[in-house]
């Protein structure tokens, strides 16, 4: 088995990796908080969350706070597992290159 096999292509991107890192340690995070932490534009963030949602790695929950729409993001169990695998693979790669 090649070492690269466990590297998740979906996480091979700074913003998607960032979204997953944040959701790993927070129960739920809303759109604006993600935007602020990752320092990205609305459109950019939306397209990456959509990609992760399609892979079933994150869940999106839409609601209203008063009249303002509020979008919350949560990690799924599948997403958690995939992310852990990805981290292990990264660790492996780094170790083997030293």
């Amino acid at each position: 088995m090649g070492l690269i096999d466990n590297i998740n292509k979906l996480f091979d991107h700074r913003i998607r990796l960032g979204i997953m890192s944040i959701l790993m340690v927070n129960d739920d995070v809303d759109f604006n908080r993600l935007k602020e932490l990752l320092d990205v534009t609305d459109g950019n963030l939306a397209s990456h969350t959509k990609t992760l949602e399609k892979a079933d790695y994150i869940k999106i929950e839409k609601s209203f706070i008063g009249k303002k729409p509020n979008t919350k993001y949560m990690i799924t169990r599948l997403g958690k597992e995939a992310f852990k695998k990805h981290i292990d693979a990264l660790e492996h790669l780094i170790r083997n290159q030293e």
Partner: protein, 202 residues
């Protein structure tokens, strides 16, 4: 493929996990100041208010009210300095002070603290003040441990130390005042200094 990119990935993951879930701008200096206020308050109480001979403090007496006044002043001064110094540090680090993490931190801190405060007041009203110092230390320690998952490591250890001190204090009646001075005064200065020197190094 170079491992440099993967190392960057790892450090980005770590940074985002910390920034999104921990409040890292807590200032060590504010801990030192809280300790200084506590010791000053205790000295004032010791020399002017606590009974010198065999008499004792009477609930609802004038000196009891003044002692409560000193406690409140020490607490308010500590919070104000913590707020000001932490805001300053957050600005310097370009961080927002009032976000989800701060809200969680404060909620987790105040639930045990307010519970303890109310409990102590109820006990005081029924003339049970022997364990006041011990209860203050224990509940404050629990508040710190509870809040520590949203902030830096030192706070957690300060919390554990306060809890242990509070328990020892409960087993040694009569020395409450001195345990209070050690817990709220000396420990704050010690842990505050550790935090402060770590900040300077970072």
């Amino acid at each position: 493929m170079d491992s440099k990119k993967y190392l960057d990935d790892i450090s980005q993951i770590k940074d985002l996990m910390n920034r999104s879930s921990r409040f890292i701008s807590l200032s060590g200096l504010s801990g030192i100041l809280a300790g200084v206020y506590a010791i000053t308050g205790a000295l004032v109480a010791y020399f002017f208010l606590l009974p010198q001979d065999d008499s004792y403090v009477v609930i609802h007496g004038w000196n009891f009210k003044l002692i409560v006044g000193i406690l409140i002043t020490v607490a308010v001064l500590s919070f104000v300095s913590a707020y000001l110094l932490t805001t300053r540090k957050a600005k310097k680090n370009n961080e927002k002070i009032w976000d989800d993490t701060t809200k969680r931190l404060l909620l987790n801190f105040f639930v045990p603290l307010v519970t303890g405060g109310i409990y102590i007041l109820i006990k005081l009203n029924s003339q049970h003040y022997g364990l006041t110092a011990s209860l203050m230390l224990i509940f404050y320690g629990l508040a710190l441990v509870n809040a520590s998952k949203y902030t830096i490591g030192t706070v957690q250890y300060l919390g554990y130390t306060q809890i242990v001190l509070g328990l020892i204090c409960a087993a040694m009646p009569g020395y409450g005042f001195w345990f209070w001075v050690v817990g709220f005064g000396i420990l704050h200065i010690v842990y505050g200094s550790i935090m402060h020197f770590r900040e300077e190094k970072a």
